[in-house]
């Protein structure tokens, strides 16, 4: 199922699309292609053959049909904040940029759902319904930027996943253009049969291009309490996390930041950090006002029992917002301390946090690399960010090796390769280490059934294939 399109095929597709959509909506200018060569990660890039900007579902169908007719691969792109190279067009494919499909089509307040186009930013949905006391609950740190289409593709989570669940728990229905151009609606309330919406959620754009998403809207919590606790050691902070959850509390979010991250946040946002602290814990409880103060003070007590150096409660919404802005922009703030970073996304059982972090530190040391840790501690979803300088090819190579080793440790500790950032191109080879060949065979069969020509975001997610993706020096894909 590998596509082998030629330069001729790609030009034919671009010419046909230019004729129908107009020159302004199709580009193959080298400068434009360069911009679409990478996503939220800076480790890899691959130059597409062209970029197309559809403005309607019908146009997406047209683009996909045209690609299919010429055997040219294509890849959907939302806001390009993906961290596993998912939106990179390998094999000289065509990028279908969905940013102009960003209308909220319908808000159904009584039934608490909204139908939106794929390019709508996650946060834009919540903003549009907040005056009804509703929001779209999954809140990736990139929520101001990332598209709902990208969220569906990666089954994205966020700090509040701990209590609210991930994207798949909030998607009610989808409209998707399959790789032969067929437009289908899946899911929707009370529709029996296979839950195809759930299947497509998390498929990383390999089953087709999602053109509409019906999302569930949830009531905004009546009250919210946010605390920040500083600990002298990562171990203390980790034990506090375990105890908070073991103590029967159900925090809405439980995030940990190490001192490298906090140094970056200090520079970016003036966030202060008590001296001698090695980790910060950001804790949030929400729900009915009744009992909320009790809940947060129990959590605070647990932090103190575990030796917290200092615990502060956000006094008002402004303080809370400031804390969350700092937390949510943490990846970006790493630019204050390094030219580049590469975010890992392993999951481990919560109890293994201290051991895992120690081993991450050892791996980094061995590869002469620095690591910054900021992660969803409550659900054991780690984001060690390896700092590097992209001009140093040797260092890039070490980053790749260290990333592999970190994932191996996650697997060894009984965890997973990815909590929320997806497999993309970055971790596909590791899939073979996580899954048995039979498991992978089912996935492959599914993919072949839905994309028999192998045109839909090829080389992502599943390992191997008849042809190897070659990433040349500097992580650039070499293709004919």
């Amino acid at each position: 199922m590998e596509s082998m399109s030629t330069t001729h095929d790609r030009s034919a597709v671009l010419a046909a699309l230019t004729a129908r959509l107009g020159a302004e909506r199709v580009t193959s200018d080298v400068a434009d292609l360069l911009v679409y060569a990478s996503d939220g990660s800076t480790l890899h890039d691959a130059t597409p053959a062209g970029v197309v900007f559809p403005e309607s579902t019908a146009e997406v169908v047209d683009i996909v049909t045209t690609c299919a007719a010429h055997g040219v691969p294509f890849v959907a792109r939302g806001s390009g904040t993906g961290l596993s190279g998912g939106a990179m067009a390998l094999d000289g494919g065509i990028v279908v940029a969905l940013n102009r499909l960003r209308r909220i089509l319908d808000v159904d307040v009584p039934n608490r759902c909204a139908r939106v186009q794929p390019g709508v930013a996650n946060l834009a949905i919540s903003r549009a319904v907040e005056h009804h006391g509703l929001h779209y609950a999954p809140d990736p740190s990139s929520q101001a930027v990332c598209s709902i289409g990208g969220n569906v593709a990666h089954n994205s989570g966020g700090p509040h996943t701990l209590k609210n669940g991930v994207t798949v728990n909030h998607v009610l229905g989808l409209q998707i253009v399959l790789s032969d151009g067929t437009l289908v609606d899946v899911g929707g309330p009370e529709r029996p049969g296979y839950d195809l919406a759930a299947l497509i959620t998390g498929s990383e754009g390999t089953f087709g291009i999602v053109t509409e998403v019906t999302v569930k809207l949830s009531p905004l919590p009546e009250g919210v309490r946010t605390a920040i606790a500083a600990f002298a050691t990562i171990d203390d902070a980790s034990h506090a996390v375990t105890s908070v959850i073991a103590g029967g509390l159900m925090p809405a979010a439980l995030e940990m930041l190490d001192r490298v991250v906090v140094a970056a946040l200090e520079a970016a946002f003036g966030l202060t950090f008590p001296p001698g602290a090695a980790a910060l814990l950001l804790l949030e409880c929400d729900g009915p006002e009744d009992g909320l103060d009790d809940e947060i003070s129990r959590a605070v007590d647990i932090c103190r029992e575990h030796g917290a150096l200092e615990v502060r409660l956000a006094r008002d919404d402004n303080e809370r917002a400031a804390l969350w802005t700092a937390r949510k922009k943490a990846f970006g703030a790493l630019g204050r301390i390094a030219r580049n970073y590469c975010t890992q996304d392993g999951v481990i059982p919560r109890t293994k946090l201290p051991e895992m972090l120690r081993r991450v530190g050892e791996i980094a040391d061995r590869h002469r690399l620095r690591v910054a840790n900021v992660f969803h501690a409550g659900d054991g979803n780690l984001h060690p960010c390896i700092l590097f300088d992209d001009r140093d090819a040797d260092e890039r190579a070490r980053v790749v090796s260290a990333g592999r080793e970190i994932l191996d440790v996650c697997l060894e500790l009984g965890g997973s390769l990815s909590g929320e950032h997806g497999i993309g191109i970055e971790k596909r080879e590791a899939m073979a280490r996580m899954f048995a060949e039979d498991d992978l065979a089912v996935m492959r069969a599914l993919r072949e059934a839905l994309d028999p020509l192998g045109l839909c975001n090829p080389h992502k997610v599943l390992p191997g294939g008849s042809r190897c993706v070659e990433l040349g020096p500097g992580g650039k894909q070499v293709h004919a």
């Binding site: 580009t27 200018d29 080298v30 400068a31 434009d32 360069l34 911009v35 679409y36 990478s38 996503d39 939220g40 990660s41 800076t42 900007f53 806001s79 390009g80 904040t81 940029a97 940013n99 102009r100 390019g119 930013a121 990139s142 101001a144 930027v145 990332c146 050691t233 990562i234 190490d258 001192r259 490298v260 140094a263 970056a264 520079a267 970016a268 946002f269 001296p275 001698g276 090695a278 922009k329 943490a330 990846f331 970006g332 703030a333 790493l334 630019g335 204050r336 301390i337 390094a338 030219r339 580049n340 970073y341 972090l357 120690r358 530190g361 980094a364 040391d365 002469r368 620095r370 690591v371």
Partner: protein, 433 residues
């Protein structure tokens, strides 16, 4: 290698200017990305282009140059960027390397040169121009021009004409004070400040300068208008005409040093203020940089200073409450971090109710002379601003930058809105009379 988890050693920050780490937080802040929906027209995309041009990985193409020229230079991306990428500086530097490029849009470049020549023309020509404007207004030619321009707002000429006629109401006010004049404080002197007249606002916004002087003297400032000052060079620098910008700035350095000691260089145009405050960016040699830093550190936006100097003595009530929306000029909010002070001053005025404007710090599309060089995109950017304003029940829209005032006034007239545009200092001065 020290283990950051077990040692207390400080974490070193990057020694060089931060780079773009692709986090994407700037995308929703960028007005051109918003209206064009293409990543080449986003901060992250433009930075990728600039880096590739700089490293030689990319030879300039018409498309690349077009995307860089389509940038408003509003610097909203800098506010949004957690990494701290100095976007504005990078843009100016890249545009300087492309300044003479044949790949640039010729008509836009021509329009820019003409406007720069016009606004920086000698004073007597400007007086002539302002006089001409009054005459044309009297005989009604400006109405004709406005009508034609309203039908062709997306052309360079249409845009220029509609801005020009939008300025007529300010041009008809009191003229700018002559350089060399000194205005004594009413009451004991609290400080001595120099006033920057600028180029365009010198002939079109004399009334704003007069109001600035009235308010500052009422608050106890001696205001001097130094001789020999000129354009701040922002328009030129923005355009990539680095030598021209440097020339203007040298001029200003000399003039303000000759003016003797003063506590603040007061500026009432956001763009000029930001350019002067950051004058050092234009120079490589240490000696000039030092002078530029010394001048830059004294630059104060007029509202920022008024906020510090505190409530007006004898402020008078207006007949009825004015409902005012405050629009943040990009070069105040994003470039100079002046956000709270103007609001505080306005809120403190008797008979004025400040009405919250959504996305107040999103560019209005004026952006120097962007609205003339890139009229279509500027209109698209303006549209969002007008929509958000139209949702409010207001009498006045206040903005601390002449460019924004003209852009918003022109837009409001075209769309038939009835609010009046005013520099915040005009509203303050209105309470003196």
């Amino acid at each position: 290698m020290t283990d950051p988890m077990t040692t207390d050693a400080p974490i070193p920050l990057l020694a060089t200017a931060p780079e773009c780490v692709h986090c994407g937080f700037c995308l929703p802040a960028c007005p051109t990305y918003d209206v064009l929906g293409t990543e080449m027209d986003s901060p992250r995309g433009r930075l990728a282009l600039m880096s590739a041009l700089e490293s030689g990985d990319l030879a300039p193409t018409r498309a690349a140059v077009g995307h860089l020229d389509a940038c408003l230079g509003c610097r909203a991306c800098e506010t949004a960027c957690p990494s701290g990428v100095p976007y504005g500086e990078r843009l100016e530097a890249t545009r300087a390397t492309l300044h003479d490029s044949p790949l640039r849009d010729r008509r836009a470049a021509q329009a820019s040169r003409w406007i720069r020549a016009a606004v920086t023309a000698p004073a007597w020509m400007q007086r002539l121009g302002a006089g001409g404007q009054r005459v044309l207004r009297a005989v009604g030619v400006d109405r004709l021009a406005e009508r034609w321009a309203a039908r062709h707002p997306d052309t360079h000429l249409g845009a220029a004409l509609s801005l020009w006629s939008a300025g007529s109401h300010w041009a008809a006010q009191r003229p700018s004070p002559a350089p060399g004049t000194t205005f004594a404080p009413s009451g004991p002197r609290r400080m001595r400040v120099a006033l920057h007249l600028g180029c365009m606002q010198r002939w079109m916004f004399g009334g704003v300068h007069r109001d600035t002087i009235d308010v500052l003297t009422a608050l106890g400032c001696e205001v001097v208008v130094p001789v020999g000052q000129g354009c701040c060079g922002a328009l030129a620098a923005h355009e990539g005409a680095a030598d021209e910008a440097r020339g203007w700035m040298r001029h200003n350095l000399d003039a303000y040093e000759r003016a003797g000691p003063f506590d603040a260089l007061v500026v009432n145009a956001a763009g000029c203020g930001s350019s002067l405050a950051d004058a050092a960016r234009l120079f490589d040699d240490d000696a000039t940089r030092e002078r530029a830093v010394a001048l830059g550190s004294r630059v104060r936006d007029v509202l920022d200073l008024v906020a510090e100097l505190g409530p007006l003595p004898h402020a008078r009530w207006t007949h009825r409450t004015q409902r005012v929306a405050y629009h943040d000029a990009c070069h105040l909010a994003h470039a100079q971090g002046v956000r709270a002070a103007p609001r505080r001053v306005l809120e403190g005025l008797p008979g004025l109710e400040l009405v919250a404007l959504a996305e107040a710090d999103r560019c209005c599309g004026s952006a120097g002379i962007y609205n003339v060089t890139q009229p279509a995109t500027a209109l698209a950017v303006l549209e969002g601003k007008l929509e958000r304003l139209a949702a409010l029940d207001i009498d006045v829209v206040a903005a601390g930058n002449p460019g924004c005032l003209l852009q918003l006034e022109a837009g409001a007239r075209r769309a038939g809105h009835t609010w009046r545009l005013a520099h915040p200092i005009e509203l303050v001065a209105g309470r003196l009379r």
